[in-house]
C-alpha cells in the first residue's frame, strides 16, 4: 500500500490532527443536540480562540524563550485564554444571530443563513482589525522530535495537543454526564418542550451549551495556532473537517465526536500518502459523503439528536 512506508508517522500526525477535530466537533455536536441545527459559525469561534491566545501569549511571553515549568504555565495560559475567547464569541453569537430568530420561531433556513452571515462577518472583521497576514504565536517551548515510537517521530507539539485535548475531552464528557448543567443539556436535547415544562430554563441551557462548545473550540484554536500561526481565515477548513468528524461519530453524540475526529485525522493523513497533498480535503469530503449516504447516523448513532 502507498502508506505502509510511513504508516506510523502518518498515524502520529493524524492523531494530532484528530484531537483538534474532536475538540471542535464537540461544539457542533452539543449545539446540534440542543438546537437541532448546525452552527455554521463555529469555525469563527475556533478562530477567535486562536487570536485571543495569540494576544495573551504575545503579551506574556514577548521575545523571551521559556523553559520547563514556565512552558507548561504558558501553555495552560494559552489554552485558557483561547477557551475564554472562544466562549465569549460563542455566547455573543448565540445572543445576536440565534436568539432573536428562536424567539420568533423562524424557519430553520433562517438560522442557517444567519449563521453563515455571522461567520462571514466575524472572520472578515478579524481580518480588518488584526490584519490579513498570518501571525505567529510566540512558542512557549522549542518544538522538535522528542522520541520515536514504531519508527515514528513524535514532536513536542503533538504531545502538547494530545495532553491538552485529552484533559478537556474527559472534562466535558464528565460535565455532560454528571453535573446539573449536563443534565439540563441532555434534557433539552431530548425534548425541549418537556424540559421547559419541568422548569429548565431553556435560554440559559442553550447559552451554556454554546459556551462549553466555545471553550473547547477556542482552546482548539490555540492548539492549532501553536504550530501554524493564526489568521482570520483559519477557521473554515478545520471546522468543515470537524463537522465531518461529528457526522462520522454521530451528530449529537459526544463520544462519537471524539472517535470521529480521531478516525478522520488518521484517515486523512493516510489518504494523503496515497494521493497528492492537494487532495487532502477531497479525502475528508469523500468520507463525509460516504458516511452520509451509507450510515447517516454515524458510527455511534445519534444519541441526543433525532435520526433522519
Amino acid at each position: 500500500m502507498c502508506f505502509t512506508q510511513n504508516f506510523w508517522n502518518l498515524v502520529v500526525s493524524g492523531l494530532a490532527d484528530g484531537f483538534l477535530y474532536a475538540l471542535i466537533a464537540i461544539g457542533y455536536t452539543l449545539v446540534y443536540g440542543v438546537l437541532q441545527l448546525i452552527n455554521f459559525a463555529h469555525s469563527e469561534v475556533f478562530m477567535s480562540g486562536g487570536f485571543a491566545s495569540y494576544f495573551i501569549l504575545n503579551a506574556a511571553i514577548g521575545t523571551s524563550q521559556p523553559h520547563g515549568i514556565a512552558s507548561v504555565g504558558f501553555l495552560a495560559l494559552g489554552t485558557i485564554g483561547g477557551g475564554l475567547g472562544g466562549a465569549v464569541v460563542a455566547f455573543l453569537l448565540e445572543r445576536v444571530a440565534y436568539r432573536p430568530l428562536r424567539r420568533r420561531n423562524a424557519p430553520r433556513l433562517a438560522f442557517l443563513i444567519s449563521a453563515i452571515g455571522a461567520s462571514y462577518f466575524i472572520y472578515n472583521l478579524a481580518g480588518k482589525e488584526f490584519g490579513r497576514n498570518a501571525l505567529e504565536i510566540p512558542s512557549p517551548f522549542t518544538n522538535g522530535p522528542v522520541f520515536t515510537i514504531f519508527g515514528a517521530t513524535v514532536q513536542t507539539v503533538y504531545i502538547v495537543v494530545a495532553v491538552a485535548a485529552v484533559i478537556m475531552l474527559v472534562l466535558v464528557d464528565r460535565v455532560v454526564a454528571t453535573t446539573r448543567l449536563g443534565k439540563g443539556i441532555r434534557a433539552v436535547a431530548q425534548d425541549a418542550e418537556t424540559a421547559s415544562l419541568m422548569g429548565v430554563n431553556i435560554d440559559r441551557v442553550i447559552s451554556q451549551t454554546f459556551i462549553i462548545g466555545g471553550v473547547l473550540g477556542g482552546a482548539a484554536g490555540f492548539l492549532f495556532g501553536l504550530p501554524f500561526g493564526v489568521v482570520y481565515t483559519m477557521g473554515f477548513t478545520p471546522a468543515l473537517k470537524a463537522f465531518t468528524a461529528a457526522v462520522l461519530g454521530g451528530v449529537g453524540n459526544i463520544r462519537g465526536a471524539m472517535i470521529g475526529g480521531l478516525i478522520l485525522g488518521i484517515a486523512e493523513n493516510l489518504g494523503v500518502a496515497c494521493t497528492q497533498a492537494s487532495w487532502r480535503d477531497v479525502v475528508a469530503f469523500g468520507i463525509l459523503v460516504l458516511v452520509l449516504l451509507i450510515r447517516p447516523t454515524g458510527i455511534l448513532g445519534e444519541q441526543l439528536g433525532r435520526a433522519a
Binding site: 502518518l10 500526525s13 493524524g14 497576514n133 514532536q155 494523503v272 497528492q276 487532502r280
Partner: protein, 403 residues
C-alpha cells in the same frame, strides 16, 4: 442641529481617510501650467483593494513616483510633454479586470499602461488592450503563456516563470552536485509553471525528481490548501531522504513547510523562489529554521545596496511605507515607457508607442530593459540568495556561481 452635523461629519471624515488610504481616484501628478505642451496619461492597472491590495500598492506608488520625477525633469531632463497618472483597481481578479481595462482604454489621453499586475487579470484584459493597440508593460505578470498569444502590445520587465526554474535547477544540480531532488509547488499559476520548468531542467541534467503539490493556504495567498498538510508532507519528504527540497510558492507557506520539516528532523537543504524572497520568511520560520535556506530571483534584491537608495527613500516619502515586492520593477516599467515616449517626441500615439517599446533600451534599477519580439524581457539573469544569520544575502548570478 448638532446631531445632524455630527451625523454627516462622521462619514465624510471617514471617507476622507479612505480616500487618502486607498486613493483609487485619479491623481493628477502634473499641473497644466503649459497649455501648449501636450499632456499624456500613463495608467496603472492592478489590485488596489481586496486580498492582494498590498502588492498592488507597492507598484502603484512606484509608478506615481516615476511619473512625478519625470515631470520634474529629474529622470530624463526636460520632456516635450507633461505626464499624468491614472490608477485603476482590478482587485487582481480576471472577472474585474476587463472593466478596469475599459476604464483605461476609454480615457483617450492614456498612451501606455503599467500592468496588469496579475497573470489571470492580464489574460482577461489583454485582448481589450490589444484591440485598442495600447501598450501594456507588466511589472509582475510572469505566466509564460502571456507572451505566446500574439499580443504585440504586451511587454513585461520581469522574467517569466520559465526563466527562473531552469536557473535554479542548474544551480542545484551543477553547483550543489545533488542528484535527488524533492520539489513541492503551491498549486498557484505562478508556482506550477515554475516548478514544471525546474523539474524538466533538473531531469535533463540527470537528476531524479519527486514532485508533490501542496496547495497554498488561506493563511498566505488565497488558496484552497490547509496548513495541516505540511505535517504529512514533511513526513514524506523526510522518508524520501532527498538531500534538497525545492519549494515553488510564497514565503508564508514555505515557512510552514520549513518548520514542519525541521521539527520532523529533516536535515536537507531547503530552497525556494522569488515568492519566498521576503524577510517575512525568516521571521515566520524563525532564524534557526531559516538559516542556510537558498532563495532565488530573476531580480536583484531590494534589500541589497544595489537598489538606488534615493528611489527607496523617495518611495517611502510618497507611499508612507517602504518599497516592497515589485516596486522597483514597476518603477523601471514606467521609466521604460517614458524613455520610449521621449524618443518619439511631442506627439505620442498609442500605436507609435507600441512600436517604440519594441526598440527601446533602458538601464533600469533592476536590469537593463530590452524587449524580445514576443514582449518578454531579453537576457534575464537568475540570482541566488541565502539566509545567513537571519538575513538574506546575495550569492550572485547562477551563471557566475556555476562557472
Amino acid at each position: 442641529m448638532n446631531r445632524i452635523t455630527l451625523r454627516f461629519v462622521a462619514p465624510v471624515a471617514a471617507a476622507a481617510v479612505a480616500l487618502a488610504g486607498v486613493g483609487s481616484a485619479q491623481v493628477a501628478a502634473a499641473s497644466n501650467a503649459h497649455a501648449s505642451t501636450p499632456t499624456y496619461t500613463i495608467a496603472y492597472e492592478g489590485p488596489l483593494s481586496g486580498g492582494n491590495a498590498q502588492l498592488g500598492l507597492n507598484m502603484k506608488f512606484a509608478v506615481q513616483l516615476a511619473i512625478s520625477q519625470a515631470n520634474a525633469g529629474k529622470t530624463f531632463g526636460k520632456l516635450p510633454f507633461k505626464l499624468k497618472f491614472l490608477a485603476e483597481d482590478d482587485q487582481g481578479s480576471a472577472t474585474q479586470s476587463p472593466a478596469a481595462a475599459q476604464a483605461v482604454i476609454s480615457n483617450s489621453s492614456v498612451v501606455a499602461v503599467v500592468g496588469p499586475a496579475f497573470s489571470g487579470a492580464t489574460k482577461a484584459a489583454e485582448p481589450l488592450y490589444h484591440a485598442a493597440n495600447l501598450a501594456t508593460v507588466s511589472p509582475s505578470a510572469t505566466a509564460p503563456a502571456l507572451a505566446t498569444q500574439g499580443w504585440s502590445n504586451f511587454f513585461r520587465v520581469v522574467a517569466d516563470d520559465n526563466a527562473q526554474g531552469p536557473g535554479d535547477a542548474t544551480y542545484v544540480v551543477k553547483k550543489l552536485g545533488v542528484k535527488k531532488i524533492y520539489t513541492v509547488d503551491d498549486a498557484s499559476a505562478y508556482a506550477v509553471g515554475l516548478v514544471g520548468a525546474f523539474d524538466a531542467k533538473a531531469k535533463q541534467l540527470g537528476a531524479t525528481v519527486t514532485h508533490q503539490e501542496a496547495p497554498g493556504t488561506t493563511q498566505c495567498q488565497a488558496g484552497t490548501g490547509n496548513v495541516q498538510q505540511y505535517g504529512a508532507l514533511a513526513t514524506q519528504i523526510k522518508g524520501s531522504g532527498d538531500p534538497v527540497t525545492f519549494y515553488a510558492g510564497y514565503y508564508c507557506d514555505f515557512a510552514l513547510l520549513a518548520k514542519a520539516l525541521r521539527a520532523d528532523g529533516y536535515n536537507g537543504q531547503l530552497m525556494s523562489d522569488d515568492g519566498s524572497l521576503d524577510p517575512h520568511y525568516v521571521s515566520e520560520a524563525g532564524a534557526s529554521v531559516a538559516n542556510g535556506t537558498l532563495l532565488s530571483c530573476a531580480c536583484t534584491n531590494l534589500t541589497s545596496s544595489k537598489v538606488d537608495t534615493t528611489f527607496a527613500s523617495q518611495f517611502k516619502k510618497l507611499a508612507g511605507f517602504p518599497v516592497g515586492t515589485y516596486s522597483a520593477e514597476a518603477y523601471d516599467a514606467t521609466n521604460t515607457i517614458i524613455k520610449a515616449m521621449e524618443k518619439i517626441g511631442a506627439h505620442v500615439k498609442r500605436s507609435a508607442l507600441v512600436k517604440g517599446l519594441h526598440k527601446v533600451v533602458y538601464a533600469g534599477l533592476t536590469k537593463t530593459v530590452h524587449f524580445q519580439p514576443d514582449g518578454n524581457i531579453a537576457g534575464s539573469t537568475v540570482y541566488i540568495y541565502q539566509v545567513k544569520n537571519g538575513s538574506i544575502v546575495e550569492l550572485g548570478p547562477v551563471a557566475k556561481l556555476v562557472g
